[in-house]
C-alpha cells in the first residue's frame, strides 16, 4: 500500500520531467544497447568460426604419426612411417565411438589434361572420406571398395582443378587426366566448398583410392594420416581417448612411453579459435561497460540535481508526515525506474542495431539471452547504486531547513 503510493509519487515525478528523464536515460540506453550489440557481434563471429570449422568435417578426428626419437635425434613427424594400414583396421574394428574412418595418404603433383596443367594435391582415401569431410558430389559418383581393393586408377576432382584443366567447360566426368604422368579416369566432381578458415582452397584437390596413391604415386605402404568422424560432436573428446588407447595397444607402447602419434579433434581447433574471438568480445564488452558506468553516473548527477531542486518539496513532504524512509524510497524508486526503463529501451535499441549490423554490414551476429539478462541486471543495479547516495541525502534533510530553502 505504502510502497505503491511511493511508486506513484516517483512515477509522477518522472512523467513531469519527460525531457530530462529521457536525457538521463540516454546514457543507460546507449550503454545497454552497446553491450548487447557488442556481445552479439562477438558471439556471431565465434559462431561463424565454429560453423566454418565444422564445415571441414563436423566431428572429424585426425590421427597423424607423431615425432619420435631415433638414436637420440628427434625426428620430424612427417618422416615417421609408424602409421600403418593395420592401425587403421584396428581402429575401425575396435572403436565404438566412430561412425566413419578412412586411411589417408597425400602427395603433390601436376594434373595434366592435354595442353592444360595445374599443380594440385592428391588425397588417397577410402569411400567413407566424403562422409567424414561432409562433401557431396556435383556429378558422377564415388569410387567403390572394390576399386580400392584393385587399386583402380579412378579419381574425383575439385572445382578449382576442373576450372584449370577443363577450361573450355566440357564435362570432366568420364575424361582421362594424368597426375604425375599416371593416367586417371575422372569419375566425379566434388561440390564446391570454397576457402576454409585458414584461407586454404578446399576445391584444389584430387581424390583417389588410397591403394592407388600408395602404389602408383608415392610408392609407400604406410599411411600419412587416418581420418575419422565421431558419432557426434559430444563423442569427439572420448573418441580421441579411445583411439589413443587402441593405437597405444597397437604400437605396444608401455605406460612410460610417450604417444608416437597425434590424435586431434576439430573441437580442439574450434576452442583455440573461439578463445581468440572471446578475448575480442571481452574487450568490446569492457568498452561498452564503461558507457554503462557513465550512464549510471548520469543518473546520479540528475538525481542529485533533482534532490537539490526539490528541497522545498521534500520539506513539505516531511512536514505533512513523510518519514525519512519514505523520501529515500521515493528517490530510489525514481532512480530505479529511470534505469530500468532506460535498460528496456536499451535492449530494444541493442536488438535493433544488431539486426542493422547483420543486414547492412553483413557481419555475423548472434544475440544471446544471457547478454540481455546481464546488461539489464547491471543497469538495475546501477540505478540502485547511483540512486542511493542522492536519495540518502534527501532523506537526511532537516524538514525546517528544507521548508525554508529557496
Amino acid at each position: 500500500m505504502r510502497l505503491l503510493n511511493l511508486f506513484k509519487i516517483a512515477f509522477k515525478a518522472i512523467v513531469l520531467n519527460k525531457t530530462r528523464t529521457l536525457l538521463t536515460m540516454l546514457g543507460i540506453i546507449i550503454g545497454v544497447a552497446s553491450v548487447i550489440a557488442m556481445l552479439a557481434i562477438g558471439e556471431g563471429s565465434k559462431e561463424s568460426i565454429r560453423t566454418s570449422i565444422s564445415n571441414m568435417g563436423s566431428n572429424m578426428i585426425t590421427i597423424k604419426a607423431g615425432s619420435d626419437t631415433r638414436g637420440g635425434v628427434r625426428q620430424e613427424a612427417s618422416v615417421m612411417e609408424s602409421l600403418t594400414l593395420s592401425d587403421f583396421e584396428a581402429i575401425r574394428e575396435k572403436s565404438t565411438l566412430l561412425s566413419y574412418s578412412s586411411p589417408m595418404v597425400d602427395g603433390r603433383g601436376q594434373v595434366i589434361n592435354g595442353s592444360n596443367n595445374w599443380p594440385s594435391s592428391i588425397y588417397g582415401v577410402n569411400p567413407d572420406y566424403l562422409k567424414i569431410k561432409v562433401v557431396d558430389l556435383q556429378s558422377g559418383s564415388m569410387f567403390t571398395d572394390a576399386e580400392v581393393k584393385s587399386a583402380s586408377k579412378v579419381a574425383l576432382i575439385g572445382q578449382t582443378v576442373v576450372d584449370n584443366v577443363f577450361p573450355d567447360g566440357q564435362n570432366p566426368v568420364g575424361q582421362m587426366i594424368r597426375f604425375n604422368n599416371i593416367p586417371f579416369k575422372v569419375i566425379g566432381v566434388l561440390e564446391e566448398k570454397g576457402e576454409n578458415t585458414f584461407g586454404q582452397d578446399q576445391d584444389d584437390v584430387v581424390i583417389a583410392p588410397y591403394t592407388t596413391v600408395q602404389k602408383r604415386i608415392l610408392a609407400i605402404d604406410h599411411l600419412n594420416q587416418i581420418v575419422a568422424s565421431a558419432m557426434s560432436e559430444e563423442d569427439a573428446p572420448n573418441a580421441v581417448l579411445e583411439v589413443s588407447e587402441i593405437l597405444r595397444t597397437q604400437h605396444k607402447l608401455s605406460n612410460a612411453d610417450e604417444d608416437d602419434f597425434h590424435v586431434r579433434s576439430m573441437e580442439e581447433l574450434i576452442s583455440t579459435f573461439s578463445s581468440t574471438s572471446e578475448m575480442l568480445t571481452l574487450l568490446l564488452v569492457a568498452v561498452a561497460s564503461i558507457s554503462l558506468l557513465i550512464g549510471g553516473i548520469g543518473i546520479m548527477n540528475i538525481m542529485y540535481v533533482s534532490v537539490k531542486e526539490r528541497t522545498k518539496e521534500i520539506g513539505l513532504r516531511m512536514a505533512v508526515g513523510g518519514k525519512g524512509a519514505d523520501i529515500l524510497m521515493q528517490f530510489l524508486i525514481e532512480a530505479i525506474l529511470i534505469s530500468i526503463t532506460g535498460g528496456l529501451l536499451g535492449v530494444i535499441l541493442g536488438l535493433g542495431s544488431t539486426v542493422f549490423i547483420e543486414k547492412f554490414l553483413n557481419w555475423p551476429t548472434s544475440v544471446s539471452l544471457y547478454s540481455i539478462v546481464i546488461s539489464f541486471a547491471v543497469c538495475a543495479v546501477t540505478g540502485i547504486f547511483f540512486g542511493w547516495y542522492p536519495a540518502r541525502k534527501a532523506s537526511a534533510l532537516d524538514p525546517i531547513t528544507a521548508l525554508r530553502y529557496e
Binding site: R2, K8, G315, D326, L403
Partner: protein, 247 residues
Amino acid sequence: MPKEIIKIENLKRSFTMGTETVHALRGISFDIKEGEFVTIMGSSGSGKSTMLNILGCLDQPSSGNYEIDGVSIKDLSRNELATIRNEKIGFIFQSYNLLARTSAIENVELPLLYNSKVSTEERRERAIKALEKVGLGERLHHTPSQLSGGQQQRVAIARSLVNNPVMILADEATGNLDTRTSYEIMSLFQELNKQGITITFVTHEPDIATFSSRTIVLKDGNIIEDYQNTNVQSAANELAKLPKQDD
C-alpha cells in the same frame, strides 16, 4: 470544559551558534484548548518561528514539556514525530508550498499518501470533501499555475484539513496575499473555527489578530501578553466594508 489540545510548560529552546548560545525561547508556558483560534504574534527575533517549529513537531524543545493531544513529544524519534505531524497537525505556509504541475486534488491527497491506514478510495473522497469545504469543488483538477494566490492558499487549507488534524498551524498564511484576498482567507478560517477546528496562527500583522479569539505576544523569547479577544472582528464584515473593485 473543552479538551486541552496543546499543553506547554516552561519550554526552553536554545541554539549553539559557534561559541555563542542563543536562547530563542526562555521558559514559556501556555495551553490551547479545543476550538480556540489563537494568534501568536511577535516581531522578528521574538522566538515566533522557533515556537512554530516546536508546535508543529518539526523541532524539539531543549527543556520543558510539550504535549499535543495528550502525547508528550519529548524523546520521540524522527519517525514518530513524522507520524504525529501526519495525524494531528495541518500545516499552512506563507508561500502555499503546493506541488507544481500537480492537480489540486492530488496536492490535497498528499498527507494521506503517507498514512497507510487510508485507502485509495477514501483518500480521494476525503480530498474532494476538503476542497468542497474551502469552496474549490469546481477546481479539483486545476494545477497551481491555473489558480490565483487566494485559490492556491485555499488548496493548501484543504490539504491541512484532509487528515482531520487536532490543530491547524498557519505560518503567516496571508503574508503573500492582498488585503481583500487575505480577508477572504481569514473569513474562511473563522468559518472553519466555528465548525470546531482549533487554529493556531503565527503572524506579525496586528490586524490579523483582531479576527482571532486569543492572542499571545512573544518578545525576546518570553510571553509578554496573553489575552482573550473580547471584540472579535468578523472578516466577512470587513470584506464587505472594502471599496468595491471595478472588475
